[in-house]
Amino acid sequence: MNSFLINTIKFFMIFYGSLLGLIFTSNYFISENANFKLDNNIDKIIVGNSQPECAYNDSLINNFKNLSSSAETYFYIYQKLKKVVEQNPQLQSVFIEFNPTNILIREDQKIWRDRYINHHLPNYNAFLNLKDNKLLALKNIGGYQHAILKSLGYNIERIALNRYNYIDSTGGYLYLNRHKVNKILDTLTPKNFNQHQKENIKLSNYDILYLDKIVQLCKEKNIAVYLIRSPYHKQFIGNQYETVFQQIKTERFNDIKFLDFKDFPLENSEFGDLQHLNYKGARKFSRWFNENIIDSLKNESIKVN
């Protein structure tokens, strides 16, 4: 019996030991060589999920790069920003998407639930610290194990192919070519959204902490931080959390400038769906953003809500 236990433990220790060794070594290589370098003229970036990903056509905005990625939570954005900030001393401003959906508990689940962790962790595993790893492991050990192994595969592939460019593989403007709003509105009764109260909804406990960390990181590097709300449709379901959203914003981020484009005038045909702009909307909004916001930033006379 004892020899069975010893041999079984030995078997798994060798397995996990070798795996950990490989993970640490490859993470070290990746962390040392990962290239997050932006063009020298880029001094402003935006980060966030699919909303800014579809809204900011960075080819139309001066000195600006869209680094948003679908379903990316603050947890993963923070990992990315650590490297971007470190490798781009020219950065002056970071815009961070902040809207009512970002405060919900669903964002926490997007950190560790299987489909999200499998998608995001392989990109950022090399940049996570022990505490971040612990969070993922405790919340979803099965998904974490799977994603870690996948990360190792990604790492080995990147090292073998000498592919260290992360800027283009971890975000960018998404050209959305769809017009589903009229169809959606056909099946929807127009709503005057009843506002949820803070007590009635479950709010993010973990992801929101990483927004704090992002803000802190930028402040330490003397980079201007802006919370920004990209345009969305009036019938977007996120509107029902507006009161709570405003409350959280005031309580936690009152000292951060907030740029609110929720009501930016757009036609239905300029939305891909209620939450995302399509390429037409992105073109119109990006041009306006470039002329009115980027220029104002230069003069530091930006009008914010």
Partner: protein, 478 residues
Amino acid sequence: MLFNSIDFAIFLPIVFLLYWFVINKNLKLQNAFLVAASYLFYGWWDWRFLSLIIFSTLVDYGIGRMLANEKKLNKRKVLLWISIIVNLGFLGFFKYYNFFLDNFIQAFSWLGTPISARSLNIILPVGISFYTFQTLSYSIDVYRKKLEPTKDIFAFAAFVSFFPQLVAGPIERATNLLPQFYKKRHFNYHKAVDGLRQILWGLFKKVVIADNCAYIVNTIFDDHQNYSGSTLVLGAVFFAFQIYGDFSGYSDIAIGTSRMFGCNLKQNFAFPYFSRDIAEFWRRWHISLSTWFRDYLYIPLGGSRGSKSQQVRNVFIIFLVSGFWHGANWTFIVWGGLNALYFLPLLLTNINRSHIDIVAVHKKWPSLNELFRIFITFTLTTIAWVFFRAESIDHAMEYISGIFSVSLFSIPQIRPTDLFILIIMFIGIEWAGRRNLYAIENFGFKWKRPIRILFYYTLIVLIFWFSRNDQEFIYFQF
């Protein structure tokens, strides 16, 4: 609790350590602990349905005791029928109530006298088809005096609820499993290692083969109108591997786990896709169910004795009942019927027992003739699986007619290269280990130890790499 879940990965070592280090003092404790662990395992899914298992255990234990003291045939028959009615009553209610109700309503409305009745929102208790048949086998064997009724309630409860095989088999016979709970189990190093090895292989089949096939299969079956004939063929073939990997994988984990606890379960799958005809396939597929039906239904009906017409009737009964056992849907009945049709020519020409040993038993490779037979058997089985997988008969018919179109000769729209490679590797290992109880039982034993260990590590890595956490075991629903 799923075998491929973290819950089970924590549960198993704890129960294993307690079983061998703390509770190994005497037989009673061992059995009582196994019952408690099994109830915890089952209750993890839904504790309310534990009462069903406990009730079924008490009824069959009681009937066994009464049969022991009863000499009169009529009274013995009554006791047996009580057991049958109670067990099949539960099964019938939970599994078939809504099916019969819907079909009665449809039949009456077809006859022009529509009736209304309320269907119930019934949850099917996990594993009910398996433990019901297991307890029934006990009552029948005791009635037939093939087995001494047990006096030990804990041994009997352990037999009914033994957690490795509680929810999806193998369906054990009392004659095999129950006596193992009469003797104190002693730890056996080789048995335990072998158990671990079989668990590893079962996990590989389930997680790597079945779950990844399932992903493609679901995509193709759910949207079959939009796929070419060749893609539909691929979907059906992948389903054949999915169901084999899923169910035989579960059986391997169950058998391996049992061995770790000092119990031997019977082999449930013996490389069925290497069968050279349908009769051989059914001797190698879900053996515990096939032999259950053989012993408790087919043989009492007359089996292969009597006139040819009686034999044909018996074959149809056993296959149709087997289909219906799998689920309350006409698709399963058609699946059973189709297999009966496949079986018929072999029966009528008396060649249904011509392939007893595994193919190429003393050779490395099969002959061309054998290969052709294997291919035909696999094709027939795969066509039948379409009915098994489809939501309805119409769905299956549309799927099959979709296959036989010009697009059958086009390149499939879905070509998962990694899955193809995995399946080829899987078939290779299964072929190499086809003479054993499971494919890797002796696999690589001639290799140097580090290489063999590396092989096991590779399997573990593949399990982690290809795991998809959203797939349940198919046979849980039965």
